[in-house]
Amino acid sequence: MQPFTKHTGTVLPLDRLNVDTDQMVPKQFLKSQSKTGFGRVLFYDWRYLPGEKPNPDFILNSPRYQGVSVLLARANFGCGSSREHAPWAIADYGFRVLIAPSYADIFYSNCFKNGILPVTLSEQQVDELFKRAEKEQGYALTVDLPSQTVSDAHGLKYNFEIDEFRKRVLLEGLDDIGLTLKYEAKITTFEQTHHPSATLYAPVDAKYAPKARQQ
């Protein structure tokens, strides 16, 4: 995973409450077997008119907001479906940082698996950032993970909280599975006393069924 330390980029203020992951990547794009190429379909239904003509009314298509990499959002960002296609699309589009007052649980966790830093600030702080981003063309923020700060060129500086472990995973770009496999012996020991058997007692119509493990 791509490590994250510090990022400076221009801000897209997406002024909508409860943006769900269906809006980030609509269902018709979930049939892909790849993790890449989702940037093109990010916010598809809002972003495109019929024939994939860019919708001029959607903020992502505004000339003013080209090249953005910090997504400023409202509360409960990423609610709904667990689809990781949403953070894949956000990262593929070029966003490295999200800033919002709150996130949905599954989406929040998915961001960290994809090198995206979801910063949580208070409603008031987010309101202030919205004001600034909407007022100043090319408004940029610097997000520094080691010092846990968000700052702009005009002296604004906010601290944010983040779980220490998640911070380390992002800073070092650690592989979750690799981390867990370091404790494989513990998993094996656990399995010696914990037996979640899936024995079949009556026939079912299934393929490729493995034998239930002998306890």
Binding site: R16, L30, K31, S82, I106, K113, K207, Y208, A212, R213
Partner: protein, 477 residues
């Protein structure tokens, strides 16, 4: 009664029993008893696993089904959507390669993953269950800790049978009172979401308790737990009791005879101890509930069937005013319109929320001897599994629905997520027993109203919403 020292919640008991590793300052490593997989959120996980040269640690605890993008008719014909077909083939290939039990499109047990898990007894009390699908919360109805995960976590579970997890806060939702005939489990959970808000449960595991929850069938409890995620909670659970044990006995993966009795004894230890503390407690009186209908673009935008579409100006928060204005514009609704005056184009009875036999029986009683309204373009019944379909047919429910003008389909997620050809066209309005009324959920520019199966059935006959309580029919699911 003996005082219990350190009383624990059911969530805490299951958590503790699955703790592989805990270290201060790090997430805990939790063992996964059942990993459910489907075609849509897993191909990238299997690819990642193979690229890293890793294996599936416990194929015997992993169960796969094709549900999200499968067609619900003409299954003998090749799938027209080549990309969807490719994803189904990939799942079959991965299951064959790693020796994972697969219920494919030709299986008599195929169905929606959150329907067949319980139906086959794969789901059992006290387990941890995960799946790359947010409605995994459904399985919590059995007293399991069950929640949705992303594709990276799917890969993690495939490789390690564990998940890195932070402990959640706990919320107890007490639903007391007896619900009226015509008020269903769906109405209970919609009313809960309205009360706590769609982010009210964020960061929490919910336990539903109270006499109205106890009185629900397992199907009803699954409906309630299913929509926990729509209130922001990753998991929702109900303590197992005699209703749970009676449901499970005799199912294919459930132990028999003395082994079953022994299992029941351990399951009886699961309910939260007297005096266990919850971070939040919410109460609801089921006797005061009316059938619920959503009017907006998230499940919290819901009201009683005898109410009216709300006025944005009636909200105090300017952000809410904006959100409601936008929702009404999308939905093509005017503030002040009585809910019963909203005409419909399509009806969908199905999804992991409401597609089980008791749902279909109740809906069939509503439509028996009647016919769907002339203004409807389509009315679908999509059973939650092929087993349910067969059972319903043996009871003659298919004839009742067909005679009433409904289409009777094969099982799958269908019009809930509209990844297959079952789509609500732009601008059309559907009464749906599914779980999400997000913009575009059932098709681009589709307008969804979430309701219970009996409310959807009555709306099909009337062509608009009606209060099912006014019909003289046994509407208890």
């Amino acid at each position: 009664m003996m005082q219990i020292m350190n009383p624990k919640t059911m969530y805490r008991k299951i958590w503790d029993a699955h703790l592989v590793r805990q270290t201060p300052g790090e997430p805990s490593l939790i063992y996964v008893d059942r990993h459910l997989v489907h075609e849509t959120t897993t191909p990238q996980a299997f690819t990642g696993l193979k690229e890293a040269g890793r294996k599936v640690r416990r194929p015997d605890l992993t169960f796969a089904v094709m549900d999200h993008a499968v067609p619900t008719k003409d299954r003998n014909l090749p799938i027209v959507d080549e990309i969807a077909a490719g994803q189904l083939q990939a799942l079959a290939r991965n299951c064959r390669e790693f020796g994972i039990t697969l219920f494919d499109m030709s299986s008599h047990n195929q169905g929606i993953i959150h329907v067949i898990g319980p139906e086959l007894g794969i789901t059992q009390p006290g387990q941890t269950i995960v799946c790359g699908d947010s409605h995994t919360s459904t399985h919590g109805a059995f007293g399991t800790l069950a929640f949705g995960i992303g594709t990276s976590e799917v890969e993690h579970v495939l490789a390690t049978q564990c998940l890195s997890q932070y402990e959640s806060k706990t919320m107890r939702i007490v639903v007391d009172g007896a619900r009226a005939n015509g008020v269903s489990a769906k109405d209970i959970i919609l009313a809960i979401i309205r009360k706590i808000g769609i982010m009210g449960g964020t960061g929490h595991v919910v336990e539903y308790t109270g006499e109205a929850i106890r009185a629900l069938s397992m199907e009803g409890r699954m409906t309630v737990c299913n929509m926990s995620i729509e209130g922001g909670a990753r998991a929702g659970m109900v303590a197992p009791d005699d209703t749970t044990f009676a449901y499970l006995e005799g199912r294919p993966y459930v132990p028999r005879g003395k082994e079953f009795q022994a299992a029941v004894e351990t399951w009886k230890l699961l309910p939260s101890d007297e005096g266990a503390e919850f971070d939040v407690t919410v109460t609801l009186d089921a006797s005061k509930l009316s059938p619920q209908v959503t009017w907006g673009t998230n499940p919290g935008m819901v009201t009683g069937v005898n109410d009216r579409v709300p006025d944005p100006a009636s909200y105090s928060d300017p952000d809410d005013q904006k959100a409601v204005t936008r929702a009404l514009e999308y939905m093509g609704l005017k503030a002040g319109t009585p809910m019963v005056d909203i005409p419909l184009d399509r009806i969908f009875i199905g999804s992991c929320t409401n597609s089980r036999l008791s749902d279909l029986r109740a809906a069939a009683r509503v439509v028996a001897g009647k016919h769907i309204a002339k203004n409807l373009k389509e009315a679908l019944v999509v059973p939650g599994s092929m087993t349910i379909k067969a059972q319903a047919e043996s009871e003659g429910l298919d004839r009742i629905f067909r005679d009433a003008g409904f289409e009777w389909r094969d099982s799958g997620c269908s019009m809930c997520i509209a990844m297959n050809p079952d789509i609500v066209p732009p601008g059309e309005r559907a009464a749906s027993t599914s779980n999400r009324n997000f913009e575009g959920r059932q098709g681009k520019d589709s307008r969804s109203h979430l309701v219970s199966p009996v409310m959807a059935a009555a709306a099909a006959i009337a062509g608009h919403f009606v209060d099912i309580r006014e019909w003289n029919v046994d509407a208890v699911e």
